[in-house]
C-alpha cells in the first residue's frame, strides 16, 4: 500500500562499519480494496496463491531480528487483506521487532483493531488520499474516506502510535491546511506528507500528478508554518517531489545499506521498485536465509558502495550523501540503472526531467494533458464529468 517513500527518517546512527539492515519492509500481499492512481506496486501484481505462509513470515521475522533489523513495516497491497494479520503482528513483535502497519484502514473494524494492538502493534500509519471525501474517493478509485474517519475514532481508544500519511500531488497539494486540521481531530502524533514518487502506477499517471512549481513553493510555506505551530504536539514531515530538487534523495538510504523488502511471494528486493530494473534476479526467502541474501545476493550487491558509479557521480563530492540517487528512476528515465539519477541537476539526462516539468507547468487549466509514454490510459467511466483526467487505475490481483 501507499506510494514509495524514500525513508529519510530512520536515523539511528550506527557506529560500526559493517552495516546491517535496520528495517524490513514486509509486503504481505498485493491484494488491496483500493486502486490508487499512484500505487507503487508493480504493474504485474502477484496473486494470492503465491503469497508466503504464516510460518515462512514468522521465520523471516526471526532471521531479520538476529541480523540486527529493528523494525518491520507491514505493507502491501493492503496488509489487512491477510487473514493471519494478527498472528503476523504477534510473530514480528515476539521476534523483537518494532511493528509498523501501513494501512488504508478499509478492512478494519473495532475488534480487529483491538486484537492487533493486543498482539503488540506499535504504530499505525493510516493513509489518506486527501481531506475531502470526493477527491479521496476518486484518487483511490473506491469509496473509502468515511471508513478512514471511523478508524480515527477507534484508534483513540488504544495506546498505539498513529501517523496520518497523506500522499500529495497536483490535485490535493492546495489542501494541506485541511489535512492538518483533520489530523488535529485525531490522536495522531505524526503527519507525513509525501509527494508521489514516480514509479509503478504513478509513473503511468505522472503528468496528471505532478504539482506545478507555484503549488510546490506555496506548500513548503504552509508546512513550515504548521511545523512551528504544532511543535511538541504533532511532528509534521514533508517529502518534496524530487523532480523539483537540485540533487536526488539518498533513495532507501543507499542501495543494500539499510533496508530489505520482501515481496508477497518471498522475493527479497533492495528497494520497492527494483523490479523495474531489467536483468536483476531476486533470491527468495523460501530458498535462502536472510543473512545470506543480505550479504551475498547479486541484486543487493549490484549498486552497493561506489564501484558501479559512472561520471558525474564517480568523482562527485556528494556521492556519499545521496549515493547517486535512485537506481530505479535512472532505469526508468535514462534506460540505464547505473546512470546518474536524471533528477540530479548535474545529470546528463536532466533535460528529460525538465521537459516533463515544462509540460506540467505550461499546461493550461487545472488538468494536465493525458499520459505520454508507453502506457495507455483507460477511458473514464461513462458517468464521470468530462473534465476529470483519465487515470490509469490499478486492478486487483486474484
Amino acid at each position: 500500500m501507499v506510494p514509495i517513500r524514500s525513508r529519510p527518517h530512520f536515523d539511528l546512527a550506527m557506529t560500526s562499519t559493517i552495516s546491517n539492515p535496520l528495517a524490513l519492509i514486509a509486503e504481505l500481499t498485493h491484494r488491496c480494496p483500493l486502486h490508487c492512481v499512484y500505487c507503487s506496486n508493480p504493474l504485474e501484481l502477484q496473486s494470492r496463491s503465491t503469497e508466503l505462509s504464516t510460518e515462512s513470515w514468522s521465520r523471516v521475522f526471526q532471521e531479520a531480528a538476529s541480523l540486527g533489523v529493528l523494525q518491520a513495516d507491514f505493507t502491501g497491497g493492503e496488509p489487512l487483506a491477510r487473514i493471519d494479520i494478527v498472528d503476523l503482528v504477534r510473530a514480528a513483535r515476539s521476534a523483537g521487532l518494532y511493528v509498523n502497519l501501513i494501512t488504508s484502514g478499509l478492512p478494519l473494524d473495532e475488534s480487529k483493531l483491538a486484537a492487533l494492538v493486543a498482539a503488540g502493534l506499535d504504530h499505525i500509519q493510516l493513509s489518506f488520499q486527501g481531506a475531502r471525501e470526493e477527491l479521496s474517493n476518486e484518487i483511490s478509485g473506491t469509496k473509502s474516506h468515511t471508513q478512514k474517519l471511523r478508524v480515527l475514532e477507534w484508534v483513540k481508544q488504544h495506546r498505539v502510535a498513529l501517523t496520518l500519511n497523506f500522499v500529495i500531488h497536483h490535485r490535493n497539494i492546495d489542501q494541506l491546511e485541511e489535512m492538518v486540521a483533520l489530523a488535529e481531530t485525531s490522536s495522531a502524533t505524526r503527519i507525513e506528507f509525501a509527494n508521489v514518487q514516480y514509479y509503478g502506477w504513478a509513473f503511468a499517471n505522472r503528468e496528471t500528478l505532478l504539482p506545478t512549481r507555484e503549488q510546490l513553493a506555496r506548500s513548503i510555506g504552509v508546512i513550515k508554518r504548521e511545523q512551528q505551530r504544532l511543535e511538541g504536539r504533532i511532528r509534521v514531515e514533508y517529502v518534496v517531489p524530487d523532480y523539483y530538487a537540485k540533487y536526488p534523495k539518498p533513495c532507501m538510504g543507499g542501495w543494500g545499506r539499510k533496508l530489505m523488502l520482501i515481496a508477497p511471494s518471498g522475493d527479497a528486493l533492495p528497494c520497492h521498485a527494483a523490479h523495474v530494473i531489467p536483468g536483476l534476479a531476486f533470491e527468495n526467502v523460501k530458498d535462502h536465509g536472510l543473512r545470506e541474501i543480505w550479504e551475498r545476493s547479486a541484486a543487493f550487491q549490484k549498486f552497493r558502495g561506489e564501484d558501479w558509479m559512472q561520471e558525474p557521480c564517480k568523482t562527485c563530492d556528494r556521492r556519499e550523501q545521496d549515493f547517486g540517487g535512485c537506481r530505479c528512476q535512472a532505469s526508468l528515465l535514462a534506460g540505464d540503472a547505473a546512470a546518474t539519477d536524471p533528477v540530479c541537476s548535474l545529470a546528463p539526462l536532466r533535460p528529460k526531467v525538465d521537459a516533463i516539468l515544462a509540460a506540467v507547468n505550461l499546461a493550461p487549466a487545472s488538468v494536465a494533458p493525458g499520459i505520454a509514454g508507453p502506457y495507455i490510459a483507460e477511458a473514464p467511466p461513462a458517468n464521470e464529468p468530462p473534465t476529470r483526467p483519465s487515470w490509469l487505475y490499478r486492478p486487483n490481483p486474484a
Binding site: 529493528l70 506499535d122 511538541g232 511532528r235
Partner: protein, 93 residues
C-alpha cells in the same frame, strides 16, 4: 504542559519504547530510533508517568554527584525538551 514544569510526570508516548539491539539500549519511536548511553538511559527509564521531572532531576543528581547539580538539571531539561520535540513524551499533571 512542558518539561519546564517540574511537577509534571513525563511518560513515553504511545509507540515509543525501550528495546535492545546489538547489546545497545535504544529508544524506538515511529520512524526513528535513538541510541541511549548512561545518562540518557537513566532519564528515559524514569519517563514512566510516575516520576515527576523534579524527581528525575534529584535522582540523577545523586547518581552523577560528581557533576555540578545545576548542569545536571539543565541537561535533563534540555533532553526532555528534545524528546518532546520528537513527540516521544506525554506529560501528565
Amino acid at each position: 504542559m512542558t518539561a519546564r514544569e517540574l511537577s509534571s510526570r513525563p511518560r513515553l508516548a504511545p509507540g515509543c519504547r525501550l528495546s535492545e539491539n546489538n547489546q545497545q539500549r535504544i529508544l524506538q519511536m515511529p520512524e526513528r530510533a535513538l541510541r541511549l548511553n548512561g545518562p540518557s538511559l537513566e532519564i528515559v527509564q524514569r519517563c514512566d508517568g510516575k516520576h515527576t521531572v523534579q524527581q528525575i532531576v534529584s535522582e540523577l543528581q545523586q547518581i552523577y554527584s560528581k557533576a555540578q547539580a545545576q548542569k545536571v538539571e539543565e541537561d535533563i531539561l534540555g533532553y526532555l525538551a528534545l524528546l518532546q520535540k520528537e513527540r516521544a513524551l506525554d506529560f501528565e499533571v
